[in-house]
Point group: C2
DNA sequence: CCCCCTTTGTAACCTTTGTTACAAAATACG
DNA sequence: CGTATTTTGTAACAAAGGTTACAAAGGGGG
């Protein structure tokens, strides 16, 4: 593995430091990368694959915060590192994942020595922030059918494929509703020739938009 | 005005710098502190009063992000400063507000020179983050009646008073629903002896909890 | 090839929330 | 004091989403 994805993000000297001080880690689909309550001493930068980040709220609901993919990082991990706190999130490999873990001492150091690092961190925070805001907007102002469509489009964008592999149950879970409701809405979309349903698969047709 | 509120947050030397480089600003209830599209070159630290921070989403809905009160700061402003971007948020004084504005050059500098500053910034990000997560949780998993009760309790906590000054219309707006619905739910709460309704006022009774 | 488990389809019904419409009360303001 | 504006109360209805229950189809493993 190499750090080519990061070439446009960091200056060469910082890349060398990342190479030197970072630790390579590999995970297989479904692997638990980080769990609630563990101490975080490293911040991950995703090189390959996709990571799902969850949070457990006070009432025991597990909520999907965001997906991390190539060259992205986890703001929650960062702020945990800086404050030396236990993890409030759980991270699971959504497919096979390669990442490089940066020790927390370097996080601090680079903030002062590399402008590109500081910008990267700030941009990460901002992107996660905007991401959450979009979630709120989506839940607060859009009906489930619209949200489902956005969800499918996002999956399409992330995977680069018009065939989405997911069960109705999984989708329901990520949209915080029930399976029956999702099945109903998907069936509507199929009836209007926007998608075709298979077992564990949804094919988006050209008419899907 | 003085910086006593910040004594427990920052070390004395940093306090002096804040005093020296920060600019005092006062606003009256309802004043526009920051608007969409303006360049942000200062980060505010609230000394007195409460600020409401809004964001405009793609579909034109204005959404209340969070309240800022004493010794708190606005993470959105911070990341805007660092990336020299235009404001994506609007800030309105909820009552009379005193704040001290820190020029963006100092933001960067202090990050390296004062550990307490770095921690403050990180904690701010984290708090806003958690705040948003709570919003999502609330909207996604709780029914309107529960959300209304939380809303009233939060207002009570922030103002320190059991009498909440707000019209049904305002509440409906902040919970992203319609006035009629809020009136209905409030009337239920009144009928069950939890609150008493007046014009522009809601009195929380002991039974409210 | 059979059994089991997961996934999907569908109906019927209930609850919550949103909408429209209209009236009455409170307040602001000239 | 009288009129305009804002705020609140309420009814009646519509729509969206949640729940329960049950059947059928698909796939995996022995």
């Amino acid at each position: 593995m190499n750090l080519d994805n990061l070439k446009n993000v960091f200056e060469p000297k910082l890349l060398m430091e990342i190479q030197q001080f970072g630790t390579w880690q590999s995970f297989k689909e479904g692997d638990l990368i980080m769990d609630y309550g563990k101490y975080i001493r490293m911040m991950p930068i995703i090189i390959k694959g996709t990571v799902k980040v969850y949070r457990l709220d006070e009432t025991g609901n597990e909520i999907l915060l965001y997906y991390l993919s190539s060259s992205e990082s986890c703001s929650m991990a960062y702020s945990c590192c800086v404050e030396a706190k236990k993890s409030e999130v759980k991270a699971i490999a959504d497919d096979d994942v390669e990442l490089i873990a940066i020790p927390h001492l370097k996080l601090d150091e680079w903030l002062c020595t590399y402008a590109s690092w500081k910008n990267y961190i700030m941009r990460s925070f901002n992107e996660r922030f905007i991401e959450l805001l979009k979630s709120i907007e989506s839940i607060a102002f859009h009906k489930l059918d619209e949200r489902l469509i956005s969800y499918l489009k996002e999956k399409q964008r992330l995977s680069g494929s018009s065939v989405i592999k997911a069960s109705h149950y999984l989708i329901a879970d990520e949209l915080a509703t029930s399976r029956v409701v999702i099945s109903r809405l998907l069936k509507h979309l199929e009836n209007s020739k926007k998608i075709i349903l298979y077992r564990n698969e949804i094919k988006l047709l050209p008419a899907f938009g």
